[in-house]
């Protein structure tokens, strides 16, 4: 039974990966389309007059409830309007395929959990499975509030690579939990850590986009050729920086909680709350790096691209902690199952 369920789980995972691959292509086409749209727009640039007309058109004039008085809206913020180009067909396809893949992967994850009779995050394969589900979930969840669909190709690409590695290198059959992991802290600590990783991944993508955008803006300001025309359809570097910050601080708070929950668990299981175990060291390093990132934004000379680099290094450390420390470093957190 266990074997069958985990086998079915793998089939679902493969189906999800196929959909993610298709979504990746769709998102990539969208990026290409964006570049095309920019060229088209450049040849038919709206005149300043037309824009002004558009702005005044949206000026509202409203009949008041009270009867005789008229409140007239005088100003209207015309902000980022240019960015909000209508979603291309490939973008909608990309989102649709991602959602479908996400549903299949959730099924795969749940089946794995049912097969094991516990939460599906107790070895590297399961961490990867649940971790990528959460990366997609964070991406879809954040999109409800902020339009970050332009990151679709990054997110699906990252998830595909991670899943590919984990299927090939990390796959292990279902095994019971060792006594050290038999704790409700496994549910809390690892879930929150993986969730934090999802936010950091998105923050990383935003910071990377910010760097590209900053470079383009800088070049445009100097009248140099800018390359990468699709960037014109993305938010400004300043806006990307704000978005990255908002996503990263959520990750940072979750990471802080991860660290604390981990300490409480370590106290219960190993008799000390902090012992500079290799995984603890890297959790600390990541925490300090993101703390540095948050402070950098308040330090003169560090706002902008420099702080973006810190977010990128921070996510590099997250990946290192997951992919390298778990597998190759000696320590108490040796639960990779490999």
């Amino acid at each position: 039974m266990t074997e069958t369920l985990s086998q079915i789980s793998v089939y679902f995972l493969f189906a999800a990966m196929a959909l993610y691959a298709a979504a990746f292509v769709a998102f990539a086409l969208d990026i290409a389309n964006r570049a095309g749209r920019v060229s088209a727009a450049a040849s038919a640039a709206p005149s300043a007059v037309a824009r002004r007309a558009e702005a005044s058109e949206s000026t509202a004039s409203v009949g008041a409830v009270g009867g005789t008085t008229t409140l007239t809206r005088i100003t209207e913020r015309v902000e980022d309007r240019v960015q909000q180009a209508a979603a291309s067909r490939s973008l909608r396809w990309g989102m649709g395929l991602t959602i479908a893949g996400f549903v299949l992967q959730v099924v795969a994850d749940v089946l794995r959990g049912v097969a094991a009779g516990r939460v599906p995050w107790a070895n590297m394969y399961e961490f990867s499975l649940t971790g990528t589900v959460l990366i997609i979930a964070v991406f879809l969840g954040v999109n409800v509030r902020l339009d970050l669909r332009f990151l679709g190709s990054f997110v699906t690409g990252l998830v595909l690579i991670l899943l590919g590695i984990s299927v090939v290198r990390y796959y292990v059959a279902v095994a019971p939990l060792p006594p050290a992991l038999q704790s409700y802290w496994l549910v809390i600590h690892v879930l929150v850590a993986t969730l934090a990783t999802g936010f950091f991944a998105l923050g990383f993508a935003l910071s990377a986009a910010q760097l590209l955008q900053a470079r383009r803006e800088n070049r445009a300001a100097h009248g140099e050729p800018t390359g990468l025309r699709f960037l014109l359809t993305l938010p400004t570097a300043a806006r990307l920086e704000n978005l990255a910050y908002r996503v990263n601080i959520v990750g940072f708070i979750l990471w802080t909680f991860t660290l604390m929950a981990g300490s409480i668990w370590a106290e219960k299981a190993w008799g000390r709350y902090w012992g500079w175990d290799t995984k603890e060291v890297w959790t600390f390093i990541i925490w300090v790096l993101y703390a540095g990132y948050i402070h950098a934004r308040a330090t003169r000379g560090w706002r902008g691209s420099r702080s973006a680099w810190l977010a990128i290094i921070g996510f590099g450390a997250v990946l290192f902690n997951f992919g390298i420390v778990n597998v190759f470093f000696h320590g108490l957190h040796s639960y990779s199952g490999l």
């Binding site: 008041a64 913020r77 006594p179 038999q182 708070i253 008799g271 402070h295 330090t299």
Partner: protein, 554 residues
């Protein structure tokens, strides 16, 4: 520690005074240390400095790894040791970084606390003359109505705005000039409070760990089934007191008897045969003046007794052996814990027989709970449980080196003054014993019997009085972090201006102090609610879009 958004580092950072006395230099140093850049640099340096602590084995976390490293890299290891790379987290250089960082932090917290206390007491600042420069600026005109009385409408509108802002948690102040009246509101002082709490609590954690940790102790003890551990210094296998801890004379008096150690291994799942499923130590705890209680210790369930926590950190087998001389007189009997169990519990142990035989004997043993002979002839264990146990012994005779009173580890055999009597390299095979069997010792020294096999629990007994404080400060860190990142600190203004034609103009605007993505929506909501209270609709399309708006409505 990030400065408040209204804080700009003064340009005094680059001091151009030609003459700096000692005081001047100290001041310069202090400013450098407490500057944001230095703090950021130290923070990043701290992250970098921690990296070697994960690459090189650390004495604190992995003492065996350090020994191994010295064996593997005999020329490199002493150099690394000089650089304190085996003790990164207590090294001079790592300590220097975090101490400087925390001094810098103190140098930041104190002035900021003062600044914040002043801000909390101060009135919200004067409404800016030109609100149109502020965030979310909106303006609405109300043409003169024949029957309305503008001189009465204006104060009423201001009064409404004041109530509205106050009910939303703003601290408000009213301002007035010839043509206009305005309300200035400020909220979110909690943001800075949270920030200060966060950073102060970090200091608290450092103090609690650094000082409080010194009052604790931890000790290890192996207890075989049936044995009793009495919490006294002499009974520990190893004992590590904190810097300020009493050296054992004040250990709380209690005893623990290990009644049984229950172990379960996976037997059905073919992918995980032999994987441990459960360890449970059933113990009887006795404290003076109270009845004995039966309780248990599990891996994630330490026992809280007498101000200490007792953890089940490991377990293994303790073969019970009896050594007799040729006449049948017992020279040694007892359970001997075999340590360093591998995945299938192959473990090693030492039996020392100092008296009662013709010569002192040392037996180096290997225990296989489920024996299996490899093609090479060597034995291994293929299952951690006791399915087909075997004890194999290499016998050494001579001087155990324990007569001169120098304490020796019971888990290692010093073979310098011993002669190997059987096993590889001799003409006699190593002794092999199954439970209940007796075999002859070499050279007619006597016999040895494996009476049975017991389990032992490896217990760690810890006392850390600072632990609760660390938790309290950690919770403050989390709470402070949440408020400092998510409570928006903002100013909000409502201005009502008399128009030349007798009408009124309403102006609304805000100012973010720190990251505040919801500000525009908040201004829109304020305008809408204010005008609604006065009986107008704004028709502002932005109002229903922002989620902070809808939350506020709910």
């Amino acid at each position: 520690m990030s400065r408040p958004s209204d804080h700009y580092e003064s340009s005094a950072q680059t001091i151009t005074e030609p003459q700096l006395g000692l005081k001047g230099w100290l001041r310069w140093f202090w400013r450098q240390l407490t500057s944001m850049r230095t703090a950021l640099f130290l923070l990043l340096l701290l992250a970098v400095a921690a990296v070697p602590g994960s690459i090189v084995p650390q004495r604190g976390a992995d003492p065996n790894g350090v020994v191994q490293y010295f064996n593997d890299h005999p020329s490199l290891a002493p150099v690394l040791d000089k650089l304190q790379l085996f003790d990164v987290f207590s090294s001079v250089w790592f300590s220097a970084i975090y101490l400087l960082l925390f001094i810098s932090l103190i140098g930041c917290i104190i002035p900021r606390t003062k600044h914040h206390l002043d801000a909390v007491r101060a009135k919200p600042p004067r409404t800016p003359a030109r609100l149109s420069r502020m965030v979310g600026y909106r303006t609405y005109t109300l043409p003169a109505a024949p029957e309305a009385e503008p001189s009465g409408a204006r104060p009423a509108a201001i009064e409404h705005a004041r109530t509205l802002l106050r009910s939303s948690g703003y601290r408000v102040a009213l301002f007035q000039d010839a043509r206009s009246q305005s309300v200035s509101g400020e909220r979110g002082y909690l943001r800075e409070t949270g920030n200060l709490v966060f950073h102060t609590a970090l200091l608290g954690i450092l103090l609690a760990v650094g000082l409080g940790g010194g009052f604790g102790y931890s000790g290890q003890k192996i207890v075989v089934e049936g044995q009793t551990f009495v919490n006294a210094l002499v009974n520990y296998d190893s004992f590590n007191p904190g810097r300020f801890a009493t050296r054992g004379d004040q250990l709380s008096p209690y005893s623990l008897t290990l009644d049984s150690l229950k172990v379960a291994y996976e037997t059905k799942n073919t992918n995980a045969i032999g994987q441990p499923l459960d360890y449970t130590a059933n113990v009887t705890a006795r404290k003076p003046g109270t009845a004995a209680t039966n309780t248990r210790i599990k891996v994630n369930e330490p026992l809280d007794i007498g101000g200490t926590n007792v953890y089940l950190l490991g377990n293994g087998y303790a073969p019970v052996v009896t050594v007799r001389d040729p006449s049948g007189q017992v020279a040694f009997t007892g359970a001997v814990p075999f340590v360093q169990p591998d995945v299938n519990n192959t473990s090693i142990g030492v039996i020392k027989v100092p008296d009662g035989l013709r010569q002192q004997l040392g037996l180096q043993g290997f225990f296989y709970p489920t024996k299996h002979q490899l093609p090479t002839g060597a034995y291994t264990s293929i299952f951690p449980g006791l399915r087909d146990p075997m004890l194999s012994l290499i016998v050494y005779g001579g001087d155990l080196g324990i007569d001169n009173g120098v304490p020796k580890s019971v888990y290692t055999l010093d073979t310098d003054h011993l002669t190997q009597l059987d096993g590889m390299g001799t003409d006699q095979p190593a002794l092999q014993l199954a439970p209940g069997k007796t075999v002859e010792l070499p050279n007619g020294l006597g016999t040895i019997t494996l009476d049975g096999v017991k389990r032992y629990a490896s217990l760690s007994i810890n006392h850390d009085p600072a632990q609760g404080w660390v938790l309290v400060f950690a919770l403050c860190v989390l709470g402070g972090l949440l408020t400092s990142l998510f409570v928006p600190r903002r100013r909000m203004w409502v201005k009502v201006i008399d128009e030349a034609d007798g009408g009124l103009r309403f102006e609304y605007a805000g100012l973010a102090r720190g990251d505040d993505p919801g500000l525009d929506a908040a201004v829109a909501t304020l305008a809408q609610r204010h005008l609604a209270a006065l009986g107008f609709a704004t028709g502002d399309p932005g109002v229903d879009a922002g989620s902070s708006t809808s939350r506020r409505k709910a």
